[in-house]
Amino acid sequence: MAGKWLPVAEITASGRPVLFPGEIECSIISSVDLHSEENPNFPYFKAGILILTTHRLLWISDSAPGTATAVAVPLAAVNHIFSLKKSIKSIFASPRIRFQVSAAPDGKVDAGGSNLAVITLVLRGKNDHEAFVSKFWEARRGRAWESESSKSGSGSDVGGFSSREGESGWSSNGLRLAGVSGILRKEQEMWESTDKSLQDAFQDLNALMVCLLKIIIAFFKKQKHFAWSKQSDGSHTHSFCSSAFKNDIKSKRKAKEMVMLAEKMRQKLLSGPTTQSGANDEEMGSKQEMQDWMLSVGIASPVTKESAGAQYHQQLSRQLADFVKIPLEKAGGMINLIDIYCLFNRARGTELISPEDLLQACSIWEKFDVPVMLRKFDSGVMVIQNKSHSDEEVFARIKSLALKPDALKTGLSASDAAMTLGMAPAMAKEHLLNAESKGFLCRDVSADGFRFYINFFHEIDPSDLYFVKDYGTYVTWIKTTIAS
């Protein structure tokens, strides 16, 4: 139904929108109704989350992510935004934002359509609607969708960003994109796809290199008032000041461009500085240093406090739920919270989140229907695990491990279990302690640390200490240990 009038927007399993390449979120407000007053057939979208991006106006229903609907109004289709009517009535009623869109003859909103329709947004939540309207104007004026379509046409250098990897920091074929190995792998992929055109793209490389280096240094050190002037290749003037790191659309796009430039640089750097005669060697510094700086693998649209406002933790929470899926699988269904903190921040690159934010984002998961959950062990260790994770299954595996002859003789240590179960030693230790508390295992404390044995105390009868049943774990243990 929705698709008839408005194009449907793709969302992830956790309710986050799937953004186009280069699409950046600008503002998020909740409790928004979307409808068309003049058209009775137009569906009334009630109480959803409205996300303004550089390309579209997204509306996502605020229900469980599995059943959410999401629609989008391409900004390209927006012809005019009506100014807010200020009247006595409007002070008490929820603010309404009206804008005119182009539509096709059948009524579907379409940038190239000849008909016109008016869509109304009713902002029922406590939001700064005036700020939103100004952002709306800005986004529309920025016409980001146009520059993107021309860029993708050339299809040369920024291949890395046109693939849908941004959100999660993981490449499309599941390989990690962080760290030096990630950088090298990305480079490999890119060389395979765009070979010659890369070389052509960098003619005036010398000057570009030096200037880009200066930009990188300034960007990471957050210097004030760093400006460089027009280059011979015609790139436009940028001026960086500390206020450049505020989250308005302009600086976000600059930041995005920054990262793109950095990518270009890195490629050239890694391919070997053979053509760099007369380059400032001390500025080039060590390749290693540059590589360290290049460790950010961007999430193209980091959810930030400003763009989401009160929604910050909610959206962060959903983004985190999406991100967590792949590392969770790799780690065997359970991953330390600290590890996720590192991975997530590394993938973000900029706009790092604090540990408190992470914790809060995880605790919000209970309210949504996401497939992951936060769990705290008795020892205090906190992990993220799949909801489908079953403790019983792990216990069964541990039990069978503890019944092996070696384990019967000398017990299990956390590292033994980690190797066999395929998880981190810290996780394995938690599982072993958990199994102990359920009575499957007993511990033996020695100078080397803990070792765990299968528990058969309950099989021994205190009134007859010498009697051994001929079935059960006790007798197996006796037979195995005597054999050694």
Binding site: S437, Y453, F457, P462, L465, W477, I478
Partner: protein, 208 residues
């Protein structure tokens, strides 16, 4: 089967977790039970009456397993469990010595009574030491039945003096005997009373 002297050790004595105090409650309860029984068994067969947790005690270490020695905390725990059950008593406030009652005081008292009865020692006077050495009774009354019981002698023989005195005091409270100090300061004497009025009558009937 492993042995400690001539004492046969059960299989689980070589199970390393047996020598580590288990943190999980249910497991620990089981472990404590096993240790209690083992301690009582060992003390009964080796006639050990006192354990000092800080001293060497062969049962508390197992050279076969690595780190096979009970920690002080563990020993305290097991001995305290025995005390709670009434099978042991701390002899001092500092918990340096523990009296192990592999027979309860009541059981000892009954054994002594049985010994006295079977040897016709009622209404006689004995020294405490004589009871301890389990000597045969000196005199016999007419009509008394004598069943010298090796087991009885064995049990009483070498009995710990403290335990014996406790048992005798127990019997004194019940009116079975009277304890008095002997002429020498070394030993105390015991005067046995008529234990069964029934037996008395029988005697009298016989005479008449």
């Amino acid at each position: 089967m492993q042995k400690l002297g001539d004492f046969k050790l059960p299989n689980f004595f070589n199970y390393p977790p047996y020598f580590t105090l288990q943190p999980v409650r249910d497991t620990r309860d089981k472990q404590v039970q096993l240790w209690k029984e083992l301690i009582l068994d060992y003390c009964r067969t080796q006639k050990i009456f006192v354990i000092g947790p800080e001293e060497e005690f062969p049962l508390f270490s197992n050279p076969v397993i690595e780190n096979g020695t009970l920690s002080h905390e563990a020993r305290e725990a097991f001995l305290s469990a025995l005390v709670s059950e009434g099978r042991a008593e701390w002899m001092d406030k500092g918990h340096k010595k523990c009296l192990i009652l592999w027979h309860r005081i009541q059981d000892w008292a009954d054994l002594i009574l049985q010994f006295v009865r079977e040897n016709g020692l009622e209404d006689s006077v004995m020294t405490v030491e004589e009871i301890r050495s389990g000597t045969e009774s000196r005199g016999t009354g007419v009509g008394s039945l004598r069943y010298p019981s090796l087991m009885d002698y064995a049990e009483l023989h070498g009995m710990d003096r403290t335990v014996l005195m406790r048992a005798l005091k127990n019997l004194e409270h019940k009116g079975k005997l009277a304890i008095f100090k002997g002429t020498s300061t070394d030993d105390e004497g015991v005067k046995w009373y008529w234990l069964f009025p029934f037996q008395n009558m029988e005697f009298q009937m016989q005479i008449s």
